[in-house]
Symmetry: C2
């Protein structure tokens, strides 16, 4: 539930763009028009528009207007965009999802783990390995580490349903920032053991560090995807 005005305007415009009420290359109503429509100040409208622009939905043209550059994508693959859980992604991509926990232990970060993950040496962690099924096929291998101090009392049951649900709705942990790297790698024996690889000998890999609202990195994840089901999407804006 969005609470602030600019979020409401943002959401509403976004929805209208996605439903093609405003078409590709069309100009949105001018800022002054929106100001009247939403009974708010121009700054508030501009804030909503600025967020849409970051999403790659619109682009401002100085002196002309705000142009829609959103185009619906064909959904052959499992598309990854902002910060969302596996469940949310699966739902948005209209797949039937399923999760199996194959490893669940405690762990204390040593020098090697610290260097690789960014956790401080000596941090107490949960270590989880999960296989993700889409439409019955084992396509994704997730390796997570969670900081115990932020995510206490994690269980296999929670890991099997949705950790993000637990984080946000039970613990009240807010996920704010996620730093990610996308690479491609050869498959490992672990991949071969648990995934339906078909004839693939490589995977698309997302490595991410996640921060909560206190600015503490509490999660390190490596997500290994079969490439034919993987597509990472991004919009960049030039900063002069």
């Amino acid at each position: 539930m969005p609470k602030s005005k600019f979020e409401i305007i943002y959401k509403e415009l976004k929805q209208k763009i996605e439903s093609l009420e405003y078409d590709y290359q069309e100009l949105l109503p001018s800022e002054n028009t929106l100001t009247v429509q939403y009974q708010c100040s121009r700054n508030t409208v501009r804030r909503a528009l600025s967020n849409l622009s970051e999403d790659g939905y619109v682009q401002s043209l100085h002196g002309k207007g705000v142009r829609v550059i959103y185009q619906p994508i064909e959904q052959a693959t499992f598309t990854i965009g902002g910060i969302e859980s596996f469940r949310e992604s699966a739902l948005r991509n209209q797949k039937v999802s399923n999760t199996k926990v194959i490893q669940f232990t405690d762990l204390i970060a040593d020098a090697r783990i610290s260097a690789r993950t960014g956790f401080a040496i000596g941090s107490e962690l949960y270590y989880v390995q999960r296989v993700r099924y889409l439409d019955g096929k084992a396509l994704i291998l997730d390796i997570n580490m969670f900081l115990k101090s932020v995510v206490p009392a994690l269980t296999i049951e929670i890991a099997e349903s949705s950790i993000y649900d637990y984080l946000e709705n039970t613990l009240g942990v807010q996920i704010i920032t996620s730093k990610r790297k996308v690479t491609a790698e050869h498959t490992s024996p672990l991949d071969e053991k648990y995934l339906d690889l078909k004839d693939y000998n490589f995977l698309s890999v997302i490595t991410s560090q996640t921060y909560n609202s206190k600015g503490v990195m509490f999660e390190f994840t490596q997500s290994r995807h079969r490439p034919d089901y993987f597509c990472f999407q991004d919009t960049a804006t030039r900063k002069r």
Copy 2:
């Protein structure tokens, strides 16, 4: 050269964070302090901070301050971040770069090309294939299409040096938005012919559509990278 105040503040803070003048997990000076330091309004400071936050450099903590979450990365691979040319990337990654044009023709978008690239059917295009060398090794295969109406008089010579240079400094075309998809794919015969693949049979692929300041998509590019030299980086922020 940044002209506006918020850009100057943004650049300066960014530089200070990168040079570790402000350390990881440290709090920046408060908004009011920065307001005094830079002799500007609080809004202007906030705009600079907001941009840094989008870059994954800082995170705001309500009631506490703005925390630095930037960490320098180890540069083993060729890291791709915002919008920049191959040359800029190569320079930032401290590699010696080189380019060979292997194909340079005209092209008119038919239905198939239109569907794949997003150019309107009948668009007049330049079609360019280039091999990119880093430290003498053929690691990247670039396939570009440019809209002739936006990028007129393109030549092989320009393609061999820097098309982005030509765009920005000669034509005055401003690159604003770039939509990208990252995937992994099997190598094609073309890849095998031109790239130093070692024993790799797959590549990391970035497919991107680029928009100019008029909101017109004028470039479609597919950039095929040998995976051991490729890393795509991104920071996402949760939108409630």
